[in-house]
Symmetry: C2
Subunit: 199 residues, 2 copies
Amino acid sequence: MNYPQNFQELIDCFKLLPGVGAKTAERYAFAILNLDEDKIKAFSESILNTKSKITTCPICGCLSDTNKCMICNDESRNSDILCVVENKKNVFIFEKLGVFRTKYHVLGGLISPMDGINPDDLSINKLIERIRKEKIKEIILALRPGVEGNTTSLYITKLLENEDVKVTQIAQGVPIGADMEFLDNLTLELALENRSEVS
Amino acid sequence: MNYPQNFQELIDCFKLLPGVGAKTAERYAFAILNLDEDKIKAFSESILNTKSKITTCPICGCLSDTNKCMICNDESRNSDILCVVENKKNVFIFEKLGVFRTKYHVLGGLISPMDGINPDDLSINKLIERIRKEKIKEIILALRPGVEGNTTSLYITKLLENEDVKVTQIAQGVPIGADMEFLDNLTLELALENRSEVS
């Protein structure tokens, strides 16, 4: 016998989530059976409404529940610097650090001809417009290291050659607590190349 | 900045699932944003409806979408043997094996005085009734090995001493493919004790 149809449908829904296979989906579906009615209702509504209630900020491209997002609306932030990130999630990763109160610009991906992602698919033109309009003094490229991230960083740097803006990128090297054994050669080479004097 | 409120609510809902922490919940919530409208609607409805549409079979205690479950309704099954399992999920684990077409009895837990679970909290009386009424010839105790499982098995065996039914339990020993190094002493001792002659 297989699971009752309604139950199997719930399992199939959970399988839509990243990294969730059949066994995990079954576990989640059984957990739903054990939740209180009101929690089930809240869960169901949350899934239904999130996408319609959450919009993309027309300025920076981040998640927003108002038209202009809370970060773009925040006048207390340093508005001279833009932190350029790959996707919406990365904004919150940097925000959680809480060390840098800049504004952001979400590219919506990285240049990757192999996957058919060209510069025109990303909000690079919008970034240039913002730099001019908001008189940005520095952009920090905080992109995932690797072929796509470096290509995108280089492309943006090239475009901004003649603009009056400083272009920086986050440091690449050995992460804190890393075991040298498990680091890839590229990271180690880069860490050697970018070595700094111990002060 | 934190996540927009609606989005945070969705993350909190995902945290209700077993083994899902903050990071996984965030990942799932972002995945929901990328789903199509119709999949989101189906997911939401599935969560809302599953509990109300799925009932417990009044005979065996398994998941059911009809009054009497599909297994209890299946006349082609061996009705001389009952496989006694801890919970609803275990029924499907044995069903997936597909080797044994018996009927089941779900206890709804294991005896565990430490957790306040006494024999009266389980459907043990119902099991005795079924054995008498359905003229069961054998019950297979397929309970999780360990203190609770063994206590429950012993308790049921004791209760059935004077009934005309054979009580068996699934073999306990070393699982196939196991690395001896990582097995606990109790399993190894049991495996030695229950050794069988190589034929």
